[in-house]
């Protein structure tokens, strides 16, 4: 996993909380900074992809590791 500036653990949270928490965390970050999100909701894979496409924030990485989902999002 590449470097990141902030981490958000959304494990155990269900739709739409991981997205809402990510949005909130991103709004406190500077453009170009990278957020690492950890989630257990299988729906979050499609959701973070859609979130990135619609908000302009870039999804750098999306992978499953050790039963959890990891996302790297670069703030636009």
């Amino acid at each position: 996993m590449a470097d990141f500036d902030q981490e958000l653990d959304a494990s155990g949270l269900n739709c739409p909380l991981p997205i809402l928490r990510a949005k909130k965390t991103l709004s406190g970050m500077a453009a170009g900074q990278i957020l690492h999100i950890i989630a257990t909701d299988p729906g979050s894979v499609k959701d973070f992809d859609a979130f990135a496409k619609q908000t302009g924030n870039e999804l750098l990485e999306s992978k499953e590791e050790g039963g959890k989902f990891h996302f790297l999002i670069k703030k636009a």
Binding site: L13, N14, P16, L17, I19, L20, K23, T55
Partner: protein
């Protein structure tokens, strides 16, 4: 990019049907939508300061019950006085266990995200509802006010 708009009409006042308007509105806001929810009839229950939302298996054949009970439980049993309370308690526990947000939490997230919430003034009058029982920060208006926003919306949902 011009901001997209989502207009929702919330008409139902049960625990299960409280979810779609608040989930969609909070998510839309996170995606950059300007969002309004117009609460009318039973939907007004979702704006009460003290929420007392229930879910009932009565008249709801699609509702899954523990152990597949819904397959053999006579409809009449679902009408017994304790059923509503029992099912509501079970549903709330299940939601908590599965990491599903409470309605209070989702509503608060909507307010933080500046989702505009409008209470139908006609329904408030019809049911003699007291404005002091509703949360702060909402507006009271009628159908014409809804259309002012909905007419320009990209998505309009009736729930």
């Amino acid at each position: 990019m011009e901001e997209k708009k989502l207009a929702i009409i919330a008409t139902k006042g049960s625990l299960d049907w409280a979810y779609p308007p608040f989930i969609l509105a909070s998510t839309a806001s996170a995606l950059g939508y300007e969002t309004q929810i117009f609460f009318t009839f039973y939907g007004l229950q979702l704006l009460k300061k003290k929420l007392d939302l229930k879910v009932t298996p009565l008249g709801n054949p699609g509702m899954p019950m523990p152990g597949g009970m819904e397959k053999f439980m006579p409809v009449l049993v679902t009408a017994l006085p304790f059923m509503e309370g029992v099912m509501t308690g079970m549903m709330k526990k299940k939601m908590k266990d599965k990491g599903v947000a409470s309605i209070e939490e989702l509503r608060e997230l909507c307010q933080e995200a500046e989702v505009k919430m409008i209470a139908c003034q006609m329904t408030v009058d019809l049911f003699d509802m007291d404005r002091s029982h509703f949360i702060d920060g909402i507006e009271y208006a009628g159908a014409a006010a809804f259309f002012e926003f909905a007419g320009d919306s990209d998505i309009c949902l009736y729930i």
